[in-house]
Amino acid sequence: MGADVTRVAEAGCHLNSGCGFPAPGLNEFDFKPMFTVGGVDFTKPMLLSVICALLVVGFFWAAFAKPKLLPGKLQLVGEIGYDFVKRSIVLETIGKKGEKYVPMLVSMFFFVWIMNIMSIIPFAQFPVMSRIAFPVGLAAIVWITYMTLTFKKHGFVGGLKNLCWPSGIPGWVMFILVPIEFFSNIFVRPFTLAVRAFANMFAGHLLIVVFSVASWYLLSPSIGALYGSVSFVVAVALTAFELLVQFLQAYIFVMLASSYIAGALEEAH
């Protein structure tokens, strides 16, 4: 896993060897710089994000660069993935007008998904999205997209109305609702979008690390070995569970982005 496991292994730290449980914490998400360029540290998550980008591009290049009418296996897999995001997420949420945003959201889905999957890839073993900088960047893109669309479609006043003025509500409720809507749609949306992805990946990674470290720590010639093996089983089960969560979070991220764009494109009411 992260730095801790290595440290524990190096220290030979086990249940009855006189050291306490080296509980993993925030330090699991803090990496020593691999190298520094002009005062900027280049860390493992950055490297992983670059690798993820290359993987996504590489996969779709291999699948779609020379597309055939009768698809090969790789092209077929790519088509299924592309079609899933296009139909089940984007067009389902936005409708026919969403055709324009398909490339952005498809890129986003596969980029986020592969960054999440890094959590359980040997040697990588770190979900890039658990560093909040990455979800923040993507959420910013989503925010800029739907805000721009809102004001472009409805003008300044109409755009504000689209963001804060819900329809079919009696007038006196507006006093409460309009500030809430304003706050929610403009400030809370991007924040929750980023934090949701980040927190899920963060928590998932921490869980896997805790049980992995524990199974290593408990591995000693005593009853601890039994607990250790239970802990190991849990770590394996959590890994499988994380696989699901990784997909789900990528799905939710893109789904919410689509629904924000759909809201921006909605006709004035």
Partner: protein
Amino acid sequence: MNPVVALAAEAQMNPLLPAWPEVIIGLLCFFIVFGILGKKLLPSIEKVLSERRDAIEGGMERAETAQAEAQALLEQYRAELAEARHEAARITEHAREQGAALIGEMREEGQRQREAIVTAGHAQIEADKKQATAALRQDVGSLASQLASRIVGESLEDHARQSGVIDRFLDDLEAKAAVAQGASK
């Protein structure tokens, strides 16, 4: 290194604060993905997908056209067949009528010929009878006068002929025969 000390030192990090270099790298990576997918790969696959859709729809359209054509051809054949049947029935009917007419004509013709033959026969018989009657009359007259001249001993022949005795006698005989015939009837 003591992990506990390391933990204490690193606990200062705030996981909710983004590190700007990471944000920039992340955005860069995303835009690389978005750029290549959005500009090149997705349009190319989209083109192929729409081509495939066209091919499938075109195939279906072609099949539909072929089916419609086949249907039309079938209709045409059926119509032609019905017409042919009708035609055949008409021809048969016509032939039957013509046959019937022909037979009628033949019958009439036969009748007429028969009548003609019968009439001719009658006429012939009548002529023969007349001739025979005339010949008989002459013979009977000459025979009777010969017999009488033998009996009388002189030739009565020319005299009898000149006086028309024989003819009167024969006419009387005929009249008597006719009366007798009418009585016996």
